[in-house]
């Protein structure tokens, strides 16, 4: 078991935050409301960045703080980095309406 710190804010969330620079293939623990989950990161996650704690399907809402922070652009496996390459904001999208 690695000692890398993570923060999992709500049991509704589909992502957790790395509080360390965590290398790929590390098994990490995420904890919320006394519940623990173990998963293996598929890629390195930088401090402050997010990883999926469960598989997320393309088009599905991505949840952090128990609230929607955007939608998945592709299928995202558990343990993968979740950021601007696979998460799209849903608000303030003048580009979508104009097209």
């Amino acid at each position: 078991m690695s000692g890398y710190k993570t923060l999992y804010l709500s049991s509704k969330d589909s992502v957790a935050v790395a509080l360390d620079e965590i290398p790929a293939h590390t098994e990490v623990t995420v904890k919320v409301d006394g519940e623990e989950r173990f998963l293996t990161l598929t890629e390195p996650i930088r401090f402050g960045h997010k990883f999926a704690v469960k598989p997320i399907r393309q088009g599905e809402d991505i949840i952090k703080y128990g609230e929607v922070i955007g939608a998945a652009v592709t299928d995202i496996p558990a343990g993968a980095h979740v950021h601007v390459h696979n998460l799209e904001g849903k608000r303030g999208r003048g580009d979508k309406i104009a097209n």
């Binding site: 710190k5 923060l7 804010l9 709500s10 935050v17 509080l19 919320v32 930088r46 401090f47 402050g48 960045h49 997010k50 952090k64 703080y65 128990g66 609230e67 929607v68 922070i69 955007g70 979740v82 950021h83 601007v84 998460l87 799209e88 904001g89 849903k90 608000r91 303030g92 999208r93 003048g94 580009d95 979508k96 309406i97 104009a98």
Partner: protein
Amino acid sequence: MFTYTIWKENGEEVTKLPTEKMHFWGYRRPDGRVGVRNHVLILPTITCATQTAQRVTELVSGTVTFIHQHGCAQVGTDYDQTARTYAGMGMNPNVYGVIVLGLGCETHQAHRIGDEIAKCGKPVQTVSIQEHGGTLQTIAEVAKIAVKMVQDASMVQRELCDFSELIIGTECGGSDACSGLSANPAVGRTSDMIVEQGGTAILAETTELIGAEHLLANRAANDQVAKKAYAVIKMMENRSIEMGVDIRTGNPSPGNIEGGLSSLEEKSLGASTKSGTTRLEEVIDYAEQPTKKGLVWMDTPGHDIEQLTGMVAGGAQIVLFTSGRGTPTGSPIAPVIKISTNTPMFERMNENMDLNAGTIVDGQETVAQVGTRIMDEIQAVSNGKLTKSEILKQHDFGIWRIGPTF
């Protein structure tokens, strides 16, 4: 709200807020409001007068000014908003007296701004460069007035005041993924404590509440306030829709994204934790004075300097500013207490940052403990302790323009 989860996460039960009354030594103004500073402000109402104003501050200690590019060829609501911002800066209780400096031919006439400020009873003088026959004569005239005003200001004694007299602005800039986990919830805790003391806390940056508006509307004092919360969000979001752009091209910024924030909604949910947990009493326009105590939302953009200026013009005596990436920001008239969201940045940019909330993500302190530390810093700064941005003369000023220049 979810901030409670973080407090529990750190092993602490959510405790009641301290109810013991807090005090500070402030400067009572003729309109009854209380300042924590005693500045003489040289207020240029037009960009053409800013250099002259700057020269005077080099000659006369105790005076402050700011550089800007506004004050002419403005119309309608854009004219009004700029005028309200100027007048609000002059009326802020951190200012003892004001010398309003105009060129003479501009739309934002110095004497009109001066008359508005004079309504609050403080010393106000108006000077025009064209009337005084040029730069050098004007510098001499303004400097002479300033010498007298600074000496008069120096004789005002501080008196014991209640924390309920404070209006505390809150903002976040250069956010990272820690902002919503450490410094912003800690400021939220402070905001709750200010409200408990009978004071006012301003939440701002409407852009960075897009995606979190339902959480705030649910806390609104009544339906009208909830409706206005949704309305200001819609207006802000519509601006990006009318421009046909993804708001993410401007916000979150490249630095936010580098720090791990992926969307505006994510940034907003973190930013909204600055509001704490109390009832939302009202939603006010940019640079307006709150009419209620408690938590107030001012409609401002996310731009750091524009929202800072709006809150200070609205009467905030002190601003709490959280940052993950680091920032030198300060105001010419209000102390800005800058709070780092992470320890490495606090150490790297120590000359700019006043407090460290990175201890929360380091697991050394709880959100509530840092909130209390911020409260103590507000008291020290109210009593005269200088903030880093004051010491470094960081006199930022920027108006949220809502119309074109003609």
